[in-house]
Amino acid sequence: MTQDVWVIAEHFQGRLNDITRELIGKGRELAQAVAGKLVAVLLGSETKSLISELAAVDAVLVADHPDLREFTAEAHSLALETALKDAPPRLVLMGSTSVGLDLLSLLSARTALPCLDNCTKLEVRDGKLFTTSQIYGGKVFAEVAVAETTTLVAVVPGSFPKSETEAMGRPEVHEIPLPASLPEVRTKFRKLIEPPPGDVDITQSSVLVAVGRGIQNADNLAMAEELAEAMGGAVCASRPVIDQGWLPLTRQVGKSGMTVKPKLYLALGISGAPEHWEGMKNSELIVAVNTDPRAPIFAGAHYGAVVDALDLIPALTEEVRKANMKKAS
């Protein structure tokens, strides 16, 4: 095993995802601390143009293969297994994303290498590696001492700042040798499904009234709509509200939903699980309302109130209307 740190470069429609730059930034710091090299692993088909965007690493491992054109956990795992056999590194970093999440566990079982998910902190203390993961919806942190063996780690997007790619180096490029046809790939990509059109584009709203489990039932959504209307904003929601079918997928904020950056994000009855936080953390002003004083949303919000959202919404709608009237007169 080398002391190298690998970063799985995630890309979509010809562009590197933010998580890749975040991992390169953190990976550089870790590689220095353990005296290893920082290596980007670029899997795909006809992705050579992305190599120039990976100038901040020491080396790039490339697998350019038709079976890797679109992501399938099986094919990507096979390519990584080949690379790992050759020169296993200290750490393999990937995003805890739609891609990384599938890859992490499949690869871990197939290679018998340990893996960690939901990681938000990585550090080296006295020469030892530690990770911290957010579990129980962000209500508990688990610190883990990383074993002295190649370890796969999936990092929650947004946990680390993006690296500056302007740092121009000339990383060595190595090919991962793969057979012309990958053996036993039983998963095949058919097509990309675009987000459903129509409805409100919540990414364009400067004020978002966001509702979570605390809204309790579909009937209470009307109150949130009234508040949003008074504020000139739109209603969006966390995952549980969407899964109940109370609002369409286009209103979902978080991991597999939208990423939003409004001037105001008013989180009503949302606990603030990491998957949700990921989609709204860059909002200019975050105001959170939850009955649980220990709800993780308060840790990152600018302002908070420990009241029942269902009591607050009508009161707030009335106050906003009063303020609007005053302004108008």
Binding site: S108, C115, V140, F141, K188, L285, A315, A323, K327
Partner: protein, 256 residues
């Protein structure tokens, strides 16, 4: 067609969780267990497939928490068979261990599809579905929101969620393991009377799992986020809080 659904119990976060005296695990005494949310969706998707294809649905659950209640609910909803997988461990096992246990239980049984929730709130070492697929050498797709059968029972056409509202349509040769994020419709409810009836008459099968050895991760400590860190708290009645909020919004010209 045979579908296996793997479920587990997780702490109900509404009740809160406390760290135990070792500082390295949650205190089981502080926990009320419920069925993991995405497992509930996996079961729902399996039941939808049963309605469309007359598939047989068997639910396997590790013996943690109030597993009997949720397995009776699964029977009441339409599962054909439920099995409690007994483990010798006191605490809920890691996902690597759970995946090895399920792999040993499922090995040799003939299932076309194995569905489980894509993630649970206590996942620390990857997702159960991906690990199981790795151990059984089956294909795996996670974050699934729709499953349809194609070509008889030899292939499934599935939708996998991508960020930003995108999704991928994939085809996968069966048998395969799928990690379900959300079923095509919200999980169905069971009338209490029906559940009571099932609880009176149901026979819950038990299977002993052989001991397994899996990669484990060493938790050094568990801790809760500091209370009061972060947000400036606005206090008072809902009306008082509302007035303070409107002042904040006005300062930032967020009210018209």
């Amino acid at each position: 067609m045979n579908i296996a659904v793997l479920t587990k119990q997780v702490p109900d976060l509404v009740e809160g969780v406390e760290i135990d005296s070792t500082g390295k695990a949650v205190d089981p005494e502080s926990i009320r267990y419920i069925l993991s949310e995405s497992d509930d969706h996996a079961l729902e998707e399996a039941l939808l497939l049963k309605e469309r294809t007359q598939a047989r649905v068997e639910v396997f659950s590790l013996e943690t928490g109030e597993v009997r209640d949720s397995l009776c609910a699964a029977l009441a909803k339409g599962a054909d068979r439920v099995v409690i997988v007994a483990t010798s461990a006191d605490a809920p096992p890691s996902n690597h261990t759970a995946a090895k246990i399920f792999a040993s239980v499922l090995q040799g049984l003939s299932f076309d599809l194995i569905l489980t929730g894509v993630r649970a709130i206590d996942d620390l070492d990857g997702s159960l579905g991906g690990l199981l697929a790795g151990y059984l050498n089956l294909p795996y797709v996670g974050l699934v929101r729709k499953v349809e059968m194609a070509d008889g029972t030899s292939m499934a056409v599935i939708q996998k969620e991508y960020p930003g509202g995108f999704a991928a349509e994939l085809e996968v040769k069966l048998p395969a393991v799928l990690g379900v994020q959300a079923a095509e419709q919200p999980p169905r409810y069971v009338p209490v009377s029906r559940l009571r009836q099932v609880m009176k008459t149901a026979s819950l099968e038990e299977k002993d799992a052989a001991p397994v050895e899996a990669e484990i991760v060493e938790v050094v400590r568990m801790f809760k986020p500091e209370e009061g860190a972060g947000a400036a708290i606005l206090s008072g009645t809902p009306e008082e809080v509302a007035r303070q909020m409107v002042d904040l919004f006005a300062e930032r010209r967020l009210v018209r």
